[in-house]
Each structure stands twice: as C-alpha cells, then as structure tokens.
C-alpha cells in the first residue's frame, strides 16, 4: 500500500483525509482512517454495511463539523475546518445521498436551483433559470423538458437531476452514495459513463458502491474500509484487481463461495399462477402485467429476472392480496386447489407471503422495535384470543434474532437504527413467523453487504429445505444464477422466457429480454 501511494505522488491529491477518528457514545465509528483522492480520478470506497463509509463522507461534507472528530482534512493542499455542509459545498465538494433530496411536486428546474435560485433581489428570473437548466440537463444527458415534475420521471432520471444540480454548484469533487442501488442495468451504465465523462473534464468522484462489477468498470483506485479502519487502497490501473481480492479485503477472509450450496431437490408443484393480468392503478386499461403463468415446486427457488419496470414487483404485489393495480384477473393454485388471494389477509391465510423491496416504506414500522415488527403479520401467533402474551412475543423475537443473526443490542431496539442488512432480516423474520407455504422475496439483498447477503441466501436454503417454495425477484443476475433453481424472465409485463438455472447465463437472460422487444415500460415507479 505504501509503495502505491508513494509512486502516485505525481498526480496531486485533491483531497487528503488523514487519521480521521470519530467516536459516538460507546462506539468508535472511524479509527484512524486515511483517504486520498487524486485530481480527476474515480475513487471507489467500499466496505460492508457499518464499515464507516457513510460516517467518513459525513465528516468530509461537514455534517459532522470540525471538532467533533479527530484528524485532518486537506482539500487541494489546504487544511480545512468545515462547520457545516455549506462550507464544503462552497469548495465544490458535493455529496449525493442514496435517498435523493428532491421535492417531488416541483419541476426539474425548480429542484436544480433550490436554495440557489437564479434570482435578482429575491425575484426569480425564470427565463435564465430555464436556459441554465437546459444546459445542465444536456451535460448529464437528460432530454426531458426542464418543467417536468420530479414525480413524473423515474428514479434513474432523478439521479441525473441530482448530478445536474451538483454541476450547477461548480463541483470539484462529487461523492455518490450507492447511486445505482435502485437503477436498472442500462440506467446504471449511463450513470457510470457520465462519471467517466466528468473524469475526462477533471472532476474527481468518490463512488460508494456494493456492486463490484461497477467498480471494476470505472474505478481508478479502491479504498476498502472494514470496521471503521482503512484496510488498504488498491490501484486498479496498475494491475487488474479481482473481485475476490476486494471481497477478501472487505470481509477479512476469502469468501470462497458467494452462494451457499443447497442439496434440496424440488418436489411436486406447490404453487401455480395462471393467466394473471393487472392494470396500472392510475391508468385503467394500461396493462402492466399480462397473462403471466408461473409454477413453483416444493423446495424450489424460482427466480424472476428482468429490468427495472418489467412488471415484476407489480405482478408480485397484485398477486399478494391485490395490493397493487386494478382490473386484476387470474387464478392461483396451492397444491392443485384454487385459492382466494383477493385480499392480503386471505392471501396470507392461503399460505402466501410477500417481502417487499422497499423495506423502509412498505416493510417495517421503523419507530417500533424489532419485537413488534417480527410479530406484526402473525399477532395471533403470540396471542390468546385478543390478548398478546408479551413474554411469548419476546421469546419469538429472540429466537429469530438468533436464527437469522440479527445484529442488535436486543430485540427492544427500534428498527430505524438497524443497518440495511439487519432491517432486511427483520422483514424476513416477520414473514417466516407468518409461516407461509410460498414466500415471494422482492430484491431481498438490495443495498446490503456481501456478508449479510450470504446469510440471506442461507435462510432461503433453509426455507426450501423445509419444503416451502420461494420466488426470488432480483435485478442482480449473478444472484439469480447462483440461488435459483429455475429462472423466469419478465419484460414489459410478460413472462418472455423460462429456463433452468443450470442452463442460464447472463447473456441468455439479456437476449431473452432484448428479443422480446426492446420496449421498456415507462412509469417504473410504484405509487
């Protein structure tokens, strides 16, 4: 590591963070962390959830002001003492958070200049603003009219608006916190290309990501954090850095197999969906799910691949008690017998469960503790008639805490304070306690680190070993290939291919999507 840093001294570092130590009551979040970013490079920052990436970026952007941490920050050689975000932004250090800070019901232009209005003496010059907005949007390759409302464009485009906003502030160092976590493949690619363009124009970026293939694609150097310390900085331009090499750095051990082996052999057909259709809730007549057929065997993991907006979540939610869409038609069978899934409670009573992709908004009651979230879908399981048995409830929560290895102080901890991976485990616990026959998992590993992913795959294996069926919706193709027994490919609301995982490959899946007509459905976001 030392040698790499020394040799690189020809390229001046734009940013140097030295010996950063930040403690919270009882926890040392960062311990003597060093980070050095050169002029015009793309620097990836990776580490497991809770490794300290976000804390480090909060120190850098001034969210934690000078004095609340130890260590030194130098920007373009000058020592800095940020008192707040305004100080770091003035120097051109702009951070784009994972949860976008846009106002949905304002237009792109209004959002671009929010807090930085194109105004003279408090009166906004809308013509100037629109012209400037067009210019900025062109730079990021967004062709929607600047007066479009944020709520009317997809997450991918919203991300671009955030970047355009950063450009309007004369960005020198752009920090992106998992920018592609909620983007589909083509949007992700576009975003990464944009970073490369910026690099050509001398803008340095720090990219926080869990997706190793992206890092391999764009990063010049990689700094790995683990448990609040810098493990190492690798130079990707000098020698090819393998994904295994990065994973070893992140978890401190070689993760020989990213997908746990499964021995369960699928049995008879357990669950079947025939001719499933659903319309968009706001636009009746616009079909989002079209004639979908699906079978799941006992002990089988069925994957559903597809791009963002392919209708996978819409299909799953419309199936689960009509919680999405209208004009829903189709039949569902369990063990060959038709079942009623017309309301959520009936679907649950008939053995179905759906663990949402949006754990914060649809999965958890964040203000409630782990215990209450775990039992929410099956309160009867801890109650006699109407009365909750509190002791039993704690025992149940405690059991899931052990079984799924939820890392927390105790089960009385509020879920809002848990890391993404642990929140996901609480959502899974909730549905495991409801004891379903068929569990639909929608992006169960989104935004969580490699170690937690492995644990979630292990849980999936346990579920199928118990003779249940699992439907796995995922945008990460390696995950589908590694975990599923059979893969369905969905595009534009239709199932366009079905293949055994053993015969599938990323290319085959992509080809199936492309062949089915390259039309992507717009309006990918759920209400």
């Amino acid at each position: 590591m030392d040698s790499i840093l020394e040799r690189s001294s020809l390229a001046m570092p734009i940013l140097e963070m030295k010996g950063i130590t930040k403690t919270f009551p009882g926890v040392k979040a960062l311990d003597n962390v060093n980070l050095s970013v050169r002029e015009g490079e793309i620097h990836a920052l990776i580490g497991e959830n809770g490794a300290g990436k976000s804390t480090l970026m909060k120190v850098l952007s001034g969210v934690y002001p000078q004095g609340s941490f130890d260590g030194e920050i130098r920007f373009r050689g000058q020592p800095q003492a940020f008192r707040g975000i305004a100080d770091s932004e003035r120097l051109g250090i702009i951070i784009i958070h994972q949860e976008l800070a846009l106002v949905p019901l304002l237009s792109i232009t209004e959002n671009l200049f929010l807090g930085n209005e194109q105004a003279k003496r408090g009166v906004i010059d809308w013509d100037a603003a629109t012209l400037r907005a067009r210019e900025l949007l062109r730079l990021v390759g967004l062709h929607d009219p600047p007066e479009t409302l944020i709520t009317d464009i997809g997450v991918g485009k919203q991300q671009l608006v955030e970047i355009a906003k950063a450009l309007s502030k004369e960005v020198k160092l752009l920090i992106l916190d998992e920018p592609t976590a909620s983007l589909n493949e083509s949007d992700s690619d576009a975003l990464l290309d944009l970073l490369l363009q910026f690099k050509a124009r001398g803008i340095a970026s720090i990219l926080i990501s869990h997706k190793l293939n992206e890092i391999a694609k764009v990063a010049d150097r990689v700094t790995i954090l683990r448990d609040g310390t810098t493990v190492e900085t690798l130079d990707c331009r000098e020698a090819v850095v393998s994904q295994d090499r990065i994973i070893r750095g992140m978890v401190g051990r070689a993760l020989s197999d990213r997908y746990p082996r499964r021995t369960t052999v699928p049995g008879d057909v357990l669950f079947e969906v025939k001719g499933w259709n659903a319309d968009h809730p706001a636009h009746p007549g616009r079909r989002v799910v079209r004639d979908v057929n699906l079978t799941v065997r006992r002990g089988e993991v069925v994957g559903i691949a597809g791009l963002m907006g392919a209708g996978r979540t819409e299909f799953a939610m419309s199936l689960f008690g009509r919680s999405y869409g209208r004009n829903i038609r189709g039949q569902a069978f369990l063990d060959g017998r038709e079942i009623d899934v017309s309301t959520i409670s009936r679907a649950m009573a008939n053995g179905l469960a759906y663990a949402t992709e949006d754990r914060k908004h649809l999965g958890l009651v964040l203000d409630n503790d782990i215990r209450h979230n775990v039992t929410l879908a099956n309160l009867k399981g801890v109650a006699k008639r109407w009365v909750i048995d509190h002791e039993r409830e704690v025992q149940v929560a405690e059991e899931f805490r052990r079984r799924l290895r939820i890392r927390c102080a105790d089960v009385f901890q509020e879920t809002v304070n848990l890391s993404g991976g642990n929140q996901q485990k609480v959502v899974l616990s909730k549905w495991l306690f409801a004891d379903p026959q068929v569990l639909i998992l929608d992006e169960p590993t989104r935004g969580i680190d490699v170690g937690a992913k492995y644990e979630i795959y292990t849980i999936i294996n346990q579920l199928v070993a118990e003779g249940r069926g699992v439907v796995l919706i995922s945008s990460e193709m390696p995950e589908l290939l590694g975990v599923a027994d059979r893969i369905f490919v969905m595009n534009a609301g239709e199932m366009v291919a079905e293949m055994p995982a053993a015969e599938a490959s990323q290319e085959k899946i992509m080809r199936a999507i492309m062949r089915s007509g390259e039309t992507l459905m717009s309006g990918e976001a759920l209400p």
Partner: protein
Amino acid sequence: MSAELNLPARGPRVSMGRFVKAHMREYGMLLSLVAIVLFFQYMTDGTLLQPLNLTNLVLQNSYIVIMALGMLLVIVAGHIDLSVGSVVALIGALAATLMVRLHLDFVTTTLLCLLAGAAIGAVQGFWVAYLRIPSFIVTLAGMLVFRGLCLILLAGQSVGPFPVEFQRLSSGFIPDFLALDAFNMGKFHLTSLLLCGAVATALVVMNTMARLRRQSVAIEQEPLPLFVAKNVALAAVLLYVGQLMASYRGLPNVLIIMSVLIALYSFVTRNTTVGRRVYALGGNEKAAKLSGIDTRRLSFYTFVNMGVLAALAGLIFAARLNTATPKAGVSFELDVIAACFIGGASASGGVGRVTGAVIGAFIMGVMNNGMSILGIGIDWQQVIKGMVLLAAVTIDVYNKNKA
C-alpha cells in the same frame, strides 16, 4: 419452527441510571404532574387538595379524560378529531330532547345517545377511512355540522333540568355500605377508602405477578428498587386520595366510570392485538396493510370508538350542568388534543400511551383549577396553558432527538 428456547438465565443487566434515562419520557410526565400539584398546593395554601376541591377537580375533568382515551387512539392511528366538542353539545341536546321534552327514561336515553355517538363516529370514520378524506377536514366539517344540529335541536335555547337519576351520573357518589360511625369519625365514607385500598392491593399484586412473569423469561429490565418505589408510591397516592375523598362524600360515580375506562383502554392498547395494530397503522400504514391488517376498518373503528366516548362525555357534561346548552363543549376538542400531546403522543401517529394522555388531561385540569383558585383571569390562563403545551411537546421532541 422449533419451540426450543435457550434464553440466558437472567435478563440484561441495566443500571438504574440508564433505565431511568431510557424511560425519562414516561417518568418526566408523571413528575411534572406531581410538581404542578405541589406548586398549586403551596400557592393556594392547601386549597387544591382539600376534599371538596379534589372532588370538583375530578368532576370537572372527567369528560376531558374520557374523551382523551378515544382521542389517543385516533391520534396514534395517525388521525385527529376536531368535532368532539360539538358532539358533546349535540349529545347533550339530544339527551335533553329525549328526557325533558319526550319524557323518555334515562336508561333508554343513555343507550340511544351512545348509539348516536357511534353513528356520528361511523359517518366520520367512513369518510376518513374509506373515502380517504383527511381527518382534519372531515372532523372540521363535523365540528360545524354537529354544532349547527345542536342549535337546531335546542332551537337556540337551554333545555333542562334533567331527572334526578340522570343527574347522579355526574353529581352522584357511590353508596356507603359501611356507614358505621364506629370510629367516631363523623361522616367518613369507609366504603370509598376500602375500595381504594382494594384497588391499590390489586394493582400491586398484578404488577408483581407481571414482573415475575417477565423475570421467568429474562426480559425484566426495571431495577428492583425502582419497581418497589413505584408501587409504594402508587399505593400511597391511591390511599391518600381515597382518604381525602372519603372524608367528603366518598368516590363520585364519574370517578368509577373513568377509572374503569382508563383501565380498559390501557389494557386494550398495551395487551391486545387490536391495540397493537392501531400503533402499527399509525407508525406505517403501508407496512401494516402489507402485513395483512385491514387498515381501513381499523381507522373506521377508532372513529366509532371516539364517537361513543364523546357521547358519554356529552351525557356526563349535560348531567353536571343539569341543562343542555348550545354553548356546551366549546373548545373541548382543544383540551382533549392538548392532553394527548402533553402526554407524549406524536402528531404523526404511531406513538402515545393511555396513561400519558390521562396524565396530560390532569396536568391541564390541575392548572385550570389551581389558576382559578388563585384568581388568575381566563385571559392569562389561556396564555399559560398554551405555553405549557408548547413547552411539554418541545421537551418531548428534544429528548427524543437526543436519545
């Protein structure tokens, strides 16, 4: 799922300091009430806790407390009900019409009035839960509509007086079965004191049993000295209040109704599946819905419940005034909502306790009463009450953010 559980032999050890800090919000409110009581007790030279005044205090606040129970559920579910003051007036008017004008007996009247309250709640609940109109707007409309209906029903006049049986609802006291003068204590109401003693004993026994049960599965966190202190204080306060009231005319009927309701709602919110679901609904409606909870029906019933309790409060209030007036219940909704918020309920839903709302109601009640005794004008009373509300919520939010 295997039922085998190997839990640690003893619960997590929590130091006294940490435990108190973690539960500061609960104790803070109770301590504020105690402080306010002591302050006015001192300022009024002991008038506040004189048996007569204490009894009045209970009578004056009973309807606010009763409505606060329903309002707490409404607020926890993520809604608000601005119409309760008007409902109080309308139900009073209805009761007067039925009993005074139509000479119906008081049992039938009471039942019909409670039913009317349920119907009012059902209408508003339907609009909120099924038509998805924000509760603020629905109940603001209700506030106007029900006040207007009250004026129509009473033709703008006061109607009374009520039959004596009905008046007892508010101004009656429990009978003394043990009216012996054996201890030569004048007209001491022994039944009341014994009842308070029995309730105190029952509560302490129940608390102890619950503690043992929690200990058996190692989830008790409250340090023993604190537990003992709390129970001793609880028993002492109950016996003291009982003794004070017994030396006047005994326990008012309303106090019994109120206590039973507090116990019931406390149990429902903490220990039943319905209660838990209301909290989940307010905490995250979408997640609750996707967990199989019929959130619309639940919202609907919180309003039905509120309507019934507002109707009961209306009856008690009318019985207390012994007349139904068009002005009854004006701005009650504000006192009730303030009680819930002072008691720690969150305006965004999902958070709040029945005990908190009751304490909040009594904080407001004691301040009203104390300031009136001190001869502070209604003008300054409002200013002070408003500032107390703001201060209480500010401290609460500040503490929550700090935690």
